[in-house]
Amino acid sequence: MPSKPAKVIWLQGITCNGNTHSFLNDPSLGALLESIEFIHHPILPCKKTLKELVKKLPKSDILIFEGAYRADFERAGVKMETLLVTLASKTKHIIALGSCASFGGIFKEASPEHISGILFDKESESGPLQTLRKKVITLSGCPIHPKWLSFVLDMIVQGKKITLDEYRRPKELYGYLVHNGCLRNEYFEWKVDSDHFGTKEGCLYYAQGCQGPFTHGSCNKILWNEVSSKTRAGTPCVGCTEPSYPRTELFSTKTYMSIPAEMPLGIPKRSYLALAGAAKSFHIKRLEGKLIDDNA
């Protein structure tokens, strides 16, 4: 453990504060605060208020940027193009926190031409921090899981190497699909669907548009509040970690002649259809009934 805490600035772009609040739910926050120190944070006690921060933009070890980017959006009277780019050039590591900072997210919908993430604009790497891309780590999610952030902060503090994917997301967190570790996998394999929210039984893919098979993230491995995830609780994954988020019609799967428009990642259509057709032919009593039958 380094002797001096790492200096962190948490800057907000256009945001709903979701990631800030999510972070406060991390049970390991107390321990983490022993190895990092916030120069500025919108909610936690810290050295400088936003007004003090913009007076003389300081150096830092880590810059966390939450929210979407728009060049002329102001914080404490300073335009984001100055604020973000200056702070970013004076730091060692930059974290794009949440889907808005990562790809534009929900806020981009309001003004698609002017709003983007800090490095990516949806899939394209055309955001304002292109020249500093090597420093950027993308933590997409809406909001991001607090443990994903504390894990990355810890890795940085410890000086460990973080392997990244094509969108600069840590592979340790985004190498999985949400589908991995989902308790409904057996239902997916045998094509037993659930058609309403909140059930324990059935897969949420066909009838409810679950994006688990296309979405990179460890929601079903690192559980929310340490106990659950969307698919465990019975709501479909909406694909919030991907640049394509938000889709329209979040709770339905687009089909052509009853066939899903998108195949699970990496699976050729022909093979998938042949397998799905075969799986559907079986009737497995264990999977068709209730897990807990109140009337039994």
């Binding site: 002649m257 009853s258 066939i259 057709g277 032919s281």
Partner: protein, 197 residues
């Protein structure tokens, strides 16, 4: 002359069995009859197929694969949906004409004696090679905006029911004209029934 391999023997058994099943029906055709027709002992026939049901199942797989490969070639030919329909109708009638036993088997044995196939090929597993290609045909037709989006089976039933029905009444010698003379109008009807409005 080289001795036929086990696979070649199997094919010749299947060819004969196909002919018998489609002509005489599943129950009328017995393993001894099949053995006799190919000049083989019944005991030896069981070395190739452990039961009449297994033989029946292998036949349907075999036919589904033939039809599946034909439709796959059409699906991959890159032509538009209307031309694909023409090609599928043409292919189906050609097979019905050149190898009537295959379509006859499909209609008269597979579809009419479901109890035989219940345990060895649940649902549509045995015909999956064929159904999968039809799914891909429909999916692509809807994706490119030429066909109306609807439940797969409503469209599939319309397409295949029509073709099967025509081959069936042709087999009963009811059609006044040769089957191929109906091809174009049938393809047109299918297209108009399924296309976007």
């Amino acid at each position: 002359m080289a001795r036929p391999t086990k696979e070649e023997r199997k094919i010749s058994i299947m060819t004969k069995a196909l002919e018998l099943f489609s002509k005489e029906g599943f129950y009328q055709t017995t393993m001894p009859t099949i053995a006799e027709k190919i000049g083989m002992s019944v005991g030896n026939l069981y070395n190739y197929f452990t039961s009449k049901e297994m033989l029946a199942k292998d036949l349907i797989l075999y036919i589904a694969n033939i039809l599946g490969e034909e439709i796959r070639a059409i699906n991959e030919s890159g032509v538009g949906t209307q031309e694909k329909i023409e090609a599928i109708v043409h292919m189906y009638f050609r097979v019905a004409k050149d190898r009537p036993e295959t379509i006859e088997y499909f209609l008269r044995v597979y579809l009419s004696n479901r109890e035989v196939f219940q345990n060895c090929c649940e649902g549509m597993i045995c015909v999956s090679a064929f159904v999968t290609e039809m799914m891909i045909f429909f999916e692509e037709g809807v994706r490119c905006g030429e066909l109306r989006d609807q439940d797969f089976f409503s469209a599939f039933g319309l397409f295949m029911g029509y073709l099967g029905g025509m081959v069936f009444i042709h087999g009963e010698n009811i059609l006044p004209k040769p089957l191929e003379e109906y091809e174009h109008t049938i393809a047109e009807n299918i297209y108009y029934a399924l296309k976007t409005r």
